[in-house]
């Protein structure tokens, strides 16, 4: 019974969250004096994409072209399943929650790669390989950040990480964590400075040859991944469902929406450098920063 309820909650969180994320994307022009769109705009855009036909490229990998958006969506849902909606109430209650989420991140690289590989076309292919080159090293800061969050909790489960934040949130005692994790989120959701898969200089990259329902599903899965990432970040740094007066899930939703807004804003306002430079930055700047973050978190946890 609880499981069925959690499955429903999770599915509706993903759906409503995806709509909210798409709306945030359309509110972003406000930051630059542009026109914002109303709350119906994401639904209209979705309907427009669904109405368009699908086309098939020359000699594609048909199976992977069809399934890649599905894998991406499944990973978003599986990732969200380890997040507790109320203290102790995650759909997947496992002692190794952060490793499950890490696997979802790693498999996301595979899903995006397959999406770019399958059409047998140059721009998607370039996007796929670029994403692999950037996505793989981005795993390292992600692992450092989540391991650092596991130190005070003495456990790899998100429920324990939430419990460890009863006194003080991780964003206070691990200040470097959220900025580093935000970079991971931008990579997972193919956004702004980390959007090396679907960039403008390759005509939309892995989705350059997408049209119709396949395109709609891919964009939907990106937004679903935004929801999952934000929920994980809210759980790790903002105490997840903890909070006064309101019930747990409501707090989680509020915090998730806040992280989503932050991610969308950063995605729209920060420039993307070339992949070669980003690779150097990841290893030479962000990896040492992750070391420092772990060290500081470790000293503070003792």
């Amino acid at each position: 019974m609880t499981t069925a309820l959690l499955v429903l909650t999770l599915a509706s969180t993903l759906a409503v969250g995806a709509w909210l994320g798409a709306w945030f994307d359309r509110l972003a022009p406000l930051l630059y004096g542009g026109r914002a769109a109303g709350p119906l705009a994401p639904l209209r855009a979705g309907a427009a994409a669904l109405l368009r036909p699908r086309i098939e490229t020359e000699a594609p990998d048909r199976m992977n072209a069809r399934l890649a958006p599905g894998w991406y969506l499944a990973l978003a849902a599986a990732g969200l399943s380890v997040v507790p909606f109320a203290p102790g109430a995650a759909l997947i209650e496992t002692p190794v929650g952060i490793v499950v989420w890490g696997s979802c991140e790693a498999l996301t690289i595979v899903a995006v790669f397959l999406h770019g590989w399958s059409p047998n076309a140059p721009f998607p292919l370039i996007g796929a390989y670029r994403y692999a080159a950037i996505g793989l090293p981005v795993m390292l800061p992600s692992m450092f950040v989540l391991i650092a969050a596991a130190l005070p909790a003495e456990s790899l489960s998100f429920t324990a990480i939430v419990e460890s934040q009863r006194e003080v949130w991780n964003i206070v005692r691990q200040p470097l964590g959220l900025p580093l994790f935000l970079i991971v989120g931008l990579t997972l959701t193919l956004r702004g400075p980390m959007d090396f898969a679907d960039a403008a200089d390759i005509a939309g990259g892995t989705s350059a040859e997408d049209s119709g329902p396949g395109r709609a599903l891919w964009q939907g899965a990106r937004l679903a991944m935004l929801v999952s990432f934000s929920a994980v970040a809210a759980t790790t740094f903002l105490g997840g469902p903890l909070g006064p007066a309101l019930p747990g899930p409501v707090w989680l939703w509020i915090k998730t929406a806040a992280i989503m807004a932050l991610t969308v804003a950063v995605g729209h306002g920060v420039a993307r450098t070339t992949p070669s430079r980003m690779l150097t930055i990841l290893w030479v700047v962000l990896l040492p920063l992750s070391f420092v973050h772990l060290l500081v978190s470790g000293v503070l946890a003792l």
Binding site: I126, D195, T274
Partner: protein
């Protein structure tokens, strides 16, 4: 009309712009302000907006882009007159209401005859031979960077590629995403002086850097507030004699100054990764780029 179609009709019309001679500034201004969606590839579009004169030599390329917009589709011509936004929205509503749209222009023939050949009718022979599914496979060749001799992919990009200036056709040979050979087959189209407007030039760079919001604002006359836009461009990229590098030209354009000649820009492309090459080409003004292209073409 189903409820889905009614919902879709309210969405911004997805348009892929094909820019001809003299139309670049007006198309860029149109998309910076209108409630239209500028599709990054024709696959994402329903409408094809052809603006300005397209030379006869590029008619086939235009037809190809036209056919790559999924059916039902509509093509529209625009010569700078008012009311284009309404025309595009009307066309989009017509399509949502179930119009059949334009027919294909190119004959439905594969690039090479292949069907029925090979063991499985795939058109190929052996491991690498033949033309499986209508095309040969890439073969190995020299590399300019690390000396690993892997496959070279040769293709003509343009004249309507979204990351290149309109009219420019490059025959590039890529190893991975690095350009190992590059020829200019056709120079960019002549554009009015207005296309060299520093705001438009900087906005093209911002778009390549993943910042469409600040780019639109710049075109509308505001200031570009973006984090790290200048520093995102690698130092020394597209360095020219007397004209600095791409980062410097971008900073100049943001300050409202135009760069000078771009002679030799095409020589700097060899050995660049594709996004670096796109940034280098966008960092010079359309008129300077056309001059540089006319010299090498």
């Amino acid at each position: 009309m189903s409820w889905l179609a009614r919902l879709a009709a309210g969405a911004p019309a997805p348009v892929y712009p094909v820019i001809g001679e003299g139309a670049q500034p007006r198309v860029e201004r149109l998309f910076a302000s209108a409630a239209l969606e500028r599709a990054q590839s024709p696959r994402a579009a329903a409408l094809l907006l052809v603006s300005g004169n397209i030379p006869e030599a590029h008619r086939e390329a235009l037809d190809r882009v036209h056919d790559q917009v999924p059916r039902p589709r509509l093509g529209l011509h625009w010569e700078g007159d008012d009311g284009i936004e309404e025309r595009l929205l009307d066309a989009w509503r017509t399509l949502c209401a179930g119009a059949t749209g334009d027919a294909d222009r190119l004959p439905d023939e594969p690039p090479n005859p292949w069907e029925g050949e090979g063991d499985f009718g795939q058109g190929g022979e052996g491991m690498m031979g033949g033309v499986p599914y209508g095309r040969p496979m890439a073969m190995t060749g020299e590399d300019v960077r690390d000396g690993l001799e892997l496959d070279r992919y040769t293709a003509r990009v343009g004249p309507f590629a979204p990351m290149l200036p309109p009219g420019l056709v490059l025959e590039v040979t890529l190893q991975g995403d690095v350009i190992v050979a590059c020829d200019v087959l056709s120079p960019p189209y002549p554009q009015p002086e207005d296309a060299d407007d520093p705001a438009l030039c900087a906005a093209r760079m911002l778009r390549l850097l993943g910042l469409p919001g600040p780019a639109d604002r710049l075109i509308r006359g505001g200031a570009a507030h973006a984090i790290g836009a200048r520093r995102a461009i690698p130092r020394g990229l597209g360095r020219l004699e007397n004209a600095g590098d791409a980062r410097m030209r971008f900073a100049d354009a943001l300050r409202g100054r135009n760069g000078g000649a771009a002679d030799g820009i095409f020589d700097t492309l060899i050995g660049l990764e594709w996004s670096e090459a796109a940034l280098a080409l966008a960092s010079v003004t359309p008129s300077a780029l056309r001059q540089a292209a006319l010299e090498v073409a």
